[in-house]
Amino acid sequence: MNYDFYHVESDTIHLRGSYIKGTIPEIHKDLTSTLLKSNIRNHYSELKIDGSQLTELDSSGVALLDEIMEILDISTNALVNFSAGNQKKINIFSSFSPHKNEKNINEKTDETFLYKIGDFFYKYLCHSYEMLVLTSDIFYWSIVGLFDKKGHRKGSFTQQSLFIGLNAIPIVCLLSFIIGLILSLQSAIQLRQFGADQFLGNLLGVALVSELAPLITAIIVAGRSGSAIASEIATMKVTEELDALKMMALNPIRYVVVPKFHAITVCMSILVVFSIIVGILGGLLVAVMYLGLTPISFINACISAVSMKTFVITLIKSTVFAWQIVIIGSHYGFIVQGGAEGVGKATTQSVVASIFGVIIMDALFSFLYLV
């Protein structure tokens, strides 16, 4: 039971050396296990802790003393022969000192399984309700904004169109080209087995126009612009800029969201058209190089396969996707809570939710093509 830092002598524990952050881990392990194993508590009614040989003491040392006192169930009266300096530190840091730790720490209540399910659906309902209100607000103000240019900054529509539309063209084109290329290469291999080479154009035209082009574009826009909208609005909310706008008698939706809404409405269809054209060019490469078709026949097949109705539905669909992205992005921006970490969370949630929403909406629209 002897150790460099302490030794136990009948009813007294003598402490030695420095009890500071560097040494405490070692002493703690050894001393507590020794004390727990020994039945010193049962042998003596009065225990003492002697600090005459203690050189240094810091707050972690005092915390250890507290723990010893808890284990041995003794009070600060048992601490004897501490130097004045160390005694002062004990008085400040010990939780046994006059101002005792209060146990008013609010602990989290246990949530039962049913409670969690109920909570989830309740929150979901609240979200949906808020989202509906926001949607109606955005539609109202964007229609008002069409006729009344007051209430949003001059040039913000152009600026947003550049950001959402023009800057997205390279990445949309690149991805569409690659997808068109891959899709036609994979199909060409299959089609060739049946000698159905000349139908590649029909296949690619329908696939790109009715599904792939709007979907790819929507996912890119959700990732690029949806996240930007969510983080911008969330930051404005956190830094009280939205409140500042309200205090200047400006409607935040009208001032911040409506220009984005207008911009995305115009740009999305244009982006989708770009995506379709470039995707078909990718397919053309395969058709000419791999299948040996003439460009004219391939493009004719593409155009003949796509009816005007399909094309119009696609344009409507992509515009709905775009609205959805703006609404979801600004919804998560407006409901942000907390500080910087809230902004990050809101952005992530908005991207996930808008991609999810786009795919669900796409499934709904696929019924429209059947009609």
Partner: protein, 252 residues
């Protein structure tokens, strides 16, 4: 007695410190000592180089030239590892607390203890509870920083700053954004901690009320130059036009 600095130990020695942002000189050839066990208040107009001075001392900004010694060790060009050892012996309270927002107060204070010591959890927990109690925030231990008011955030940040029992504490405008009562409570708390824990304090502030309450020694910067250093009575009677104006416009 306060004038008599000869028998006091300088804890921070700054000599010929020059700080620049690009080509712009912020501090020009500053030499001064900060003594152990004192409250040193750094004053000056906005943009006068106060915060830059403090950030240079603790190398949040690297000094352009000159020498800074903390605890007698030259810290300019010191190896990062050695400097980290120095940093463990000082604490800093930032203007808005700078608590990590995504984790609770308990975990915030736990960071330095967890990273720089091998203390077992039970000991760490005791220290954290005690430090929070010293700043009067025991009830907020499980709350997130965003759930606290401005004054509470600062107190929680103070608890984090004293987690490792530092010897020097730096304060960047502790009373900024607080009402006079909260600010005076914070000053009282700072003074109490100084008395109890025997810490040396370096405070950047504008609050005249706060200066009268806590300052032992005053350092006054203007346009990157050190224009005054000395005690409180000296600064009030100081003839330097800028210092004089600073104390006059603050009066009612």
């Amino acid at each position: 007695m306060k004038q008599n600095n000869i028998d006091k130990i300088p804890i921070i020695e700054v000599s010929n410190l020059t700080a620049k942002y690009g080509d712009k000189t912020i501090l020009n050839n500053i030499s001064l000592d900060i003594y152990s066990g004192e409250v040193t208040v750094i004053l000056g107009a906005s943009g006068g180089g106060k915060t830059t001075f403090m950030k240079n001392i603790i190398r949040l900004i690297e000094p352009f030239s000159g020498s800074v010694k903390i605890f007698g060790n030259e810290i300019v060009n010191m190896e990062e590892q050695d400097f980290n050892e120095i940093l463990k012996r000082v604490g800093m309270l930032f203007q808005n607390g700078a608590l990590l927002n995504s984790i609770s107060i308990f975990e915030n204070i736990s960071i330095p203890l967890e990273q720089h010591t091998n203390l077992p959890f039970s000991i760490r927990e005791k220290i954290i509870k005690k430090k929070l109690e010293l700043v009067g925030l025991s009830h907020a231990i499980n709350l997130l920083p965003s759930e606290l008011s401005g004054g509470m955030k600062k107190r929680a940040a103070l608890a984090r700053a004293i987690a490792l029992d530092p010897e020097i504490l730096f304060f960047d405008e502790p009373s900024a954004g607080l009402d006079p009562i909260t600010s005076s409570n914070l000053d009282e708390l700072i003074l109490n901690l100084k008395k109890q824990l025997n810490i040396s304090l370096v405070i950047v502030t504008h609050e005249l009320a706060s200066i009268y309450r806590i300052a032992d020694r005053i350092v006054f910067f203007d346009k990157g130059e050190l224009v005054y250093q000395g005690d409180l009575t000296g600064v009030i009677n100081c003839e330097h036009p800028i210092v004089k104006k600073f104390f006059e416009v603050g009066k009612f």
